[in-house]
């Protein structure tokens, strides 16, 4: 068994991780520090720890997501937990079983941690109120996706050495994006400057009240930015409903090499995945030297290990 050397004893005063808005800047720092340690362990041959030995983690995904689910699965397993994946198609929910029925069923199995993704905002919070174990939000509707924001922050911090004072441009479908909301919350909490860039049809009402600068033009939006974060545009929103066509969207809002020169020369290019190449991001930029998109995936496992470990420290009999 590997051991986690120099791991700071974490004091994490939360039973669940439901959103970034519940975290203080100290909580965020502590999680990122802890995750930094896990990055090193994940690069060793022997990766297995025993923090969660004997614990049961259930990944409950009402919305399919290969990467987030595998990331949580790997994180749990590397900490020694027994991990079970439950994919509940939204169709079977529509057939009558409510979210809370599912919650009650799971509750009876005595899990220690449930990781939940659901297509409706607030669903994870609702579930957390009805079960006795810790709950991690792996994305609820257009509300929050806290581990994504944490892994983005970890990626940025490891490259830039800090978060405070950086200018981060979040570009694309802000309206439907939980990634955007969680990132806005986290980056504001740690003192970064946040810009959002999108066509007006993809901006939620009163977004400026969340402490961001709003740009309709990607050129001004990413000018001198330290980080350019692109968001995925869902297919069903590409053709007429919110933007007229892929071609027009890419022309005005897609990130290509020419536009990227407006950002700082060492600006990071990020994307939460999965990417639509040629829609929101050009292939050469996605694979270019400034892209840290693959590294984000690696940080994802480390951050999720940190979150699971932090929550485990508050579990009964821990």
């Amino acid at each position: 068994m590997a051991t986690l050397q120099d791991a700071p004893p974490i004091s994490f005063p939360h039973r669940h991780l439901l959103g970034i808005d519940q975290l203080s800047p100290f909580d965020i720092d502590a999680l990122l520090d802890l995750a930094d340690g896990f990055v090193e362990i994940n690069r060793r041959t022997e990766k297995k720890l025993a923090t969660l030995r004997g614990r049961t983690q259930i990944n409950l995904f009402f919305e399919a997501s290969t990467r987030t689910q595998s990331s949580f699965e790997l994180a749990g397993k590397r900490l020694g937990a027994d991990v079970m994946n439950m994919s509940v198609g939204s169709s079977s929910v529509k057939k009558g079983e409510t979210l809370l029925d599912t919650a009650m069923t799971l509750h009876a199995m005595h899990p220690d941690i449930i990781v939940v993704r659901h297509q409706s905002a607030g669903a994870v919070e609702l579930l957390a109120r009805k079960v006795g174990c810790s709950v991690v939000n792996a994305g609820d509707g257009a509300h929050e996706h806290p581990t994504q924001a944490l892994l983005d922050a970890l990626t940025i911090r490891r490259h830039k050495g800090r978060l405070q004072g950086l200018t981060v441009a979040i570009c694309g479908d802000i309206l439907h994006s939980r990634v955007a909301r969680s990132n806005i919350g986290l980056l504001n909490a740690v003192g970064a400057r946040v810009r959002v860039v999108a066509p007006s049809t993809l901006l939620p009402a009163a977004i400026d009240r969340l402490g961001v600068e709003v740009h309709g033009d990607i050129r001004s939006g990413i000018k001198d930015a330290d980080v350019v974060m692109m968001l995925r545009l869902q297919r069903e929103r590409m053709h007429g409903a919110f933007v007229p066509s892929v071609r027009e969207y890419f022309h005005y809002y897609g990130l290509d090499a020419a536009k990227l020169t407006l950002a700082k020369p060492d600006a990071l290019v990020m994307h939460p995945g999965p990417m639509n190449r040629g829609v929101e991001i050009a292939s050469d930029v996605a694979d270019g030297p400034q892209s840290v998109i693959r590294e984000q995936v690696e940080m994802g496992v480390a951050v999720r290990m940190a979150v699971l470990e932090a929550l485990a420290s508050n579990l009964p009999n821990a």
Binding site: D21, T98, L99, L100, H118, S120, A121, G122, A123, E125, L126, D140, G141, A142, H143, E144, R178, R181, P204, A205, A206, I207, R209, L210
Partner: protein
């Protein structure tokens, strides 16, 4: 508060064989908006009607055998007429029956429930109008009058038999929870209804602008990641309706307005002399979008709770009479429709039992005079619907509410009479309590203090 207090309810009229004793109230604060009365005095009920009223009625002024009540200075007012009540009967009896709704009404001082046609089957023909009235006669302890569906199956296409249903007892016509989107259909309905002097009540909200929206559009919705409903969903539909009223001339009532901007539109129409009136839900008068907190589905309503600025504008419009009536918009929903994530839950909240006491918040805050509140919940709706009740004048039906405007209490959903417990006022502090409700001279609810 005495510990032996226990409320009691009456039973439906047909089961009462004995002749009802006359009731004499004295030392009560009489509030009668119909003639501006707000004074201490007494009131005598006999043969189901108000026999006498005024300051001259003291303790010794009542006939032998009458039940004499010393009101202790509490308020006696005409019973409330609630213009928007959804019951679950027929079709959704597990949520609410007409009987259970009537018990909630009685406990809340509501003496006439105007029931919406959104039942299963829909109240869209003479047989159904007749059926619910018979059900009410047999099972309800307060009065019930149905609204008829304005279009067949509430589908918004074919007009229903407005004339025949009016004769059968439908007091108004509405498309219920759904707006009529086709302007031509609305125009014809208004035109046709005019010939029968029938009132059209409309949920003025454009469903396309509502789209997938589930709460007021703004910062709170954005933070919660919920889709918003713009104020224009209301103003666009209301403006269209009012223009059609100008064209067609029928009597029109906007069921529940929720935005400040709609009030400007309404004011202009009233100033032009159009035959329009408007209502507001007690929820939009006393709650705002922030009360949704962390996704409280009992506060998912249609129209949605709006901003505090909107709420204040509605309160102002209520005080100055621009808004005519307050409704409870009583809409029982249960576990299978409300225990879901916010966006997946049904709209609606119960409200019959808390209508009056929630409205008293506006009296205690000094925003709306008590007499105007009673006017908006009794006298005005009765007048708009052409009902006899809504006043304390001698000769009127003895439909009365007797209440303590100050008694403090905390709402416990489990103690409410509705079969469904989706109250937006769970655990809320209230000031004011219904002590007794009288329908046609019979006590149908007694709080049990005396």
């Amino acid at each position: 508060m005495p510990t032996d207090q226990k409320p009691t309810w009456g039973s439906p009229e047909r089961f009462e064989r004995e002749r009802v004793r006359p009731i004499g109230f004295h030392n009560v604060r009489l509030i009668d908006p119909a003639n501006g009365r707000d004074e201490t005095g007494g009131l005598l009920i006999d043969e189901g009607k108000i026999a006498d009223v005024g300051p001259h009625l003291t303790a010794d002024a009542f006939p032998e055998g009458a039940e004499v009540i010393d009101g202790g200075g509490n308020v006696l007012a005409p019973g409330l007429v609630d213009m928007q009540v959804f019951t679950g009967e027929p079709g959704y009896e597990h949520r609410e029956t007409i009987a259970s709704a009537s018990r909630a009404a009685a406990a809340g001082g509501v003496t006439t429930m105007i029931c919406m046609p959104d039942t299963n089957p829909v109240i869209h023909d003479v047989a159904m109008v007749d059926y619910v009235q018979r059900l009410a006669r047999d099972t309800a302890i307060v009065r019930l009058a149905p609204m008829g569906a304005l279009t067949r199956d509430l589908a918004g296409n074919e007009m229903t038999e407005i004339g025949l249903m009016s004769e059968a007892g439908a007091v108004a016509f509405t498309n219920g929870r759904k707006a009529i989107t086709n302007a031509q259909t609305m125009r014809r309905a208004l035109t046709y209804a005019r010939d029968f002097d029938a009132l059209i009540v409309h949920h003025a909200e454009d469903p396309d602008l509502v789209g997938e929206g589930v709460m007021h559009e703004g910062e709170t919705a954005t933070r919660l990641g919920l889709k918003g409903i713009p104020a224009e969903a209301e103003t666009v539909m209301l403006s269209r309706d009012l223009k059609l009223v100008g064209l067609a001339g029928g009597r029109y009532h906007a069921a529940q307005l929720s935005t400040a901007r709609a009030l400007t539109t309404l004011r202009r129409a009233k100033e032009r002399g159009l035959p329009v009136t408007a209502g507001v839900s007690i929820n939009n008068l006393t709650l705002n979008e922030n009360d949704i907190g962390t996704y409280r589905t009992f506060l998912k309503l249609s129209p949605p709770l709006r901003s505090e600025d909107d709420r204040m504008a509605l309160v102002g419009a209520l005080a100055d009479g621009l808004i005519d009536v307050i409704v409870s918009s009583h809409d029982p929903q249960d576990v299978e429709t409300k225990r879901h994530p916010f966006a997946d839950s049904e709209d609606g909240a119960i409200g019959l039992e808390t209508l009056l006491v929630a409205a008293l918040r506006l009296h205690h805050s000094g925003d709306v005079p008590l007499i105007r509140l009673i006017d908006a919940m009794s006298t005005r709706p009765a007048a708009i619907l052409g009902l006899e009740s809504g006043s304390l004048e001698a000769g009127r039906p003895a439909d009365l509410v007797f209440f303590d405007p100050d008694m403090p209490w905390i709402v416990n959903a489990e103690e409410l009479s509705s079969l469904s417990k989706n109250t937006p006022f769970e655990d809320a502090r209230m000031q004011g309590r219904v002590l007794r409700t009288i329908v046609a001279g019979r006590t149908v609810y007694d709080y049990g203090l005396h």
